[in-house]
């Protein structure tokens, strides 16, 4: 088994990296893949809470790096989905606790055991981000349709390009079609035009994301709102399936199912 190692990053904080990591990891596992999600945000860990696994933490990634345990002992198996694992990080340490070389080694070890390794990167462009990305082959860049988030995503894409990550693919999170229509929000095509990388998913703004995060239950586990479908579609696209984009335009919607229509990506 040789896993694909994918870093989930954004530059700006609060755009939904951790939620995206949790949902995509869960969706990939639901499809039958063996997946591990690593929390790369040392000192500000959140992935465990969003995946609902915080009460099962015994060892963290940092313990393994300090030699207190083996990497395999840090793996937390998700009881709800077969083949889904998570590696938590330490809340009491800082980004200096990990080096890029260590992350490369950890990823290399996990590659043997998994199909997909997802690394949830911290916000920013400093060591934390660089370490998280060090062991990855590919990158998912999460942005929201806001000028500041897009500018930070652009910065991150430039850095990922210089680190030779490929492919670098884009997720536009929290889009509100009604605001786009009124010209109050950047559209997906605006974002794509600026960032000029491949789009792999559009996730609509959805209140259920907040409730599911608070419950520690990734949206794709039990619910079926548009955001959950969007995350599932992204997971399918990662596996190489050609899934059409949802049409988030509510103008033509005829009831609940009518809202889920296909193909708007601006192209």
């Amino acid at each position: 088994m040789t896993a694909r190692v994918i870093v989930v990053t954004s530059g700006k904080g609060g755009v939904g990296k951790t939620t995206t990591t949790a949902n995509i990891a869960t969706a990939l596992a639901q499809m039958g893949n063996k997946v591990v999600a690593i929390d790369g945000d040392v000192g500000l860990r959140n992935l465990d809470v969003i995946m609902g696994l915080e009460n099962r933490i015994v060892y963290t990634l940092i313990d393994a790096l300090d030699g207190a345990c083996r990497i395999s002992q840090t793996l937390i198996r998700d009881k709800r989905v077969e083949n889904l694992f998570m590696i938590p990080t330490a809340q009491s340490r800082t980004k200096d606790a990990v080096t890029a070389e260590q992350m490369i080694e950890v990823c290399a070890e996990l590659r043997q055991e998994f199909d997909y390794v997802l690394v949830d990167s911290p916000a920013g462009i400093e060591a934390g981000f660089r370490n998280s990305a060090a062991g990855a082959d590919e990158a998912l860049v999460v942005t929201t349709p806001e000028v500041s988030a897009v500018r930070d995503a652009d910065r991150i894409i430039g850095l990922l390009e210089s680190m030779e990550k490929s492919p670098i693919r884009l997720i536009v999170n929290r889009i509100r079609p009604s605001m786009v229509k009124k010209g109050e929000m950047l559209s997906v095509s605006d974002v794509r035009e600026i960032l000029a990388v491949e789009l792999i998913g559009i996730v609509p703004d959805d209140e259920s994301v907040v409730t599911s995060s608070n419950k520690g239950e990734p949206l794709v586990l039990s619910q079926d709102p548009p955001a959950a479908r969007a995350f599932r579609n992204i997971a399918s696209r990662i596996t190489g399936k050609d899934v059409p984009f949802m049409n988030l335009d509510q103008r033509d919607s005829g009831g609940f199912l009518g809202r889920i229509m296909r193909v708007i990506t601006g192209q």
Binding site: V150, R151, D152, D154, R155, G158
Partner: protein, 228 residues
């Protein structure tokens, strides 16, 4: 009133206010000479008269009350009055704004930089010559060029043309979407609701201010818009 300002290449600019009465010249020049007796002898000075017309007699007066006694070396006599320019040229006095020497020297070294890619946020190009970008300059990207800058895509980021003080440098963008453009020591700002936003423009410094104008349309473009 007369003002003395520093310029590039350690030159001075002597700005003679347009509304000052010609009768006060001699008194004002005395004052300038008094204040500048330590640094004026041998200094390179641009005399800037704005739009003031000068007669031959007045020019003679300036020579005898300022130029000769102060020991300055006049590099240019700047006026926007066409008749005066003509008169100055006939006498054989320099009327062209001097070009910074750094430009000529550095150009010889570095020439033009042609980049066939877009600049992303945080990426910076620093070049001692002209820069052409065959791509976009995204928000948060920066270009510092000693010479001209041409952006063949969207200009969202910051461009500083003539960054060593050369105000003859210009910025051309295929789609102008930047809130600020810097040329030489000047800063020009633009609002999103201005008519140049998103258009192909040229930005230059004229009379000490940053000016923006449409890049002249070619005939085929005029036809498309039904103008020509």
């Amino acid at each position: 009133m007369i003002k003395l300002k520093g310029m590039y290449d350690s030159m001075l600019r002597c700005i003679i206010s347009e509304d000052m009465d010609a009768g006060d010249f001699s008194k004002e020049f005395d004052e300038v000479r008094g204040k500048g007796q330590r640094f004026l002898p041998g200094a390179k000075v641009v005399l800037d008269f704005g739009a003031r017309p000068l007669s031959g007699e007045l020019i003679g007066g300036i020579m005898s009350s300022l130029v000769w006694p102060s020991g300055i070396y006049v590099v240019a006599w700047i006026t926007y009055d066409a008749a005066t320019q003509d008169l100055l040229k006939r006498i054989g006095l320099p009327t062209r704004e001097p070009e910074p020497s750094v430009r000529a020297a550095e150009y010889a070294k570095s020439g033009m930089l042609f980049l066939q890619r877009s600049l992303r946020s945080g990426q910076r190009v620093d070049h001692a010559g002209d820069v052409i970008i065959a791509g976009h300059v995204n928000d948060g990207a920066e270009i510092l060029a000693a010479g001209h800058v041409v952006v063949l895509g969207r200009l969202n980021g910051l461009v500083h043309a003539g960054c060593n003080g050369d105000e003859t440098a210009s910025v051309v963008a295929r789609s102008m979407e930047a809130l600020q453009v810097r040329i030489g020591t000047k800063i020009g700002s633009l609002d999103r609701d201005e008519r140049w936003w998103g258009k192909m423009v040229i930005v230059r410094v004229n009379e000490g201010s940053v000016f923006i104008d449409y890049w002249p349309a070619i005939k085929s473009e005029n036809r498309e818009e039904g103008i020509g």
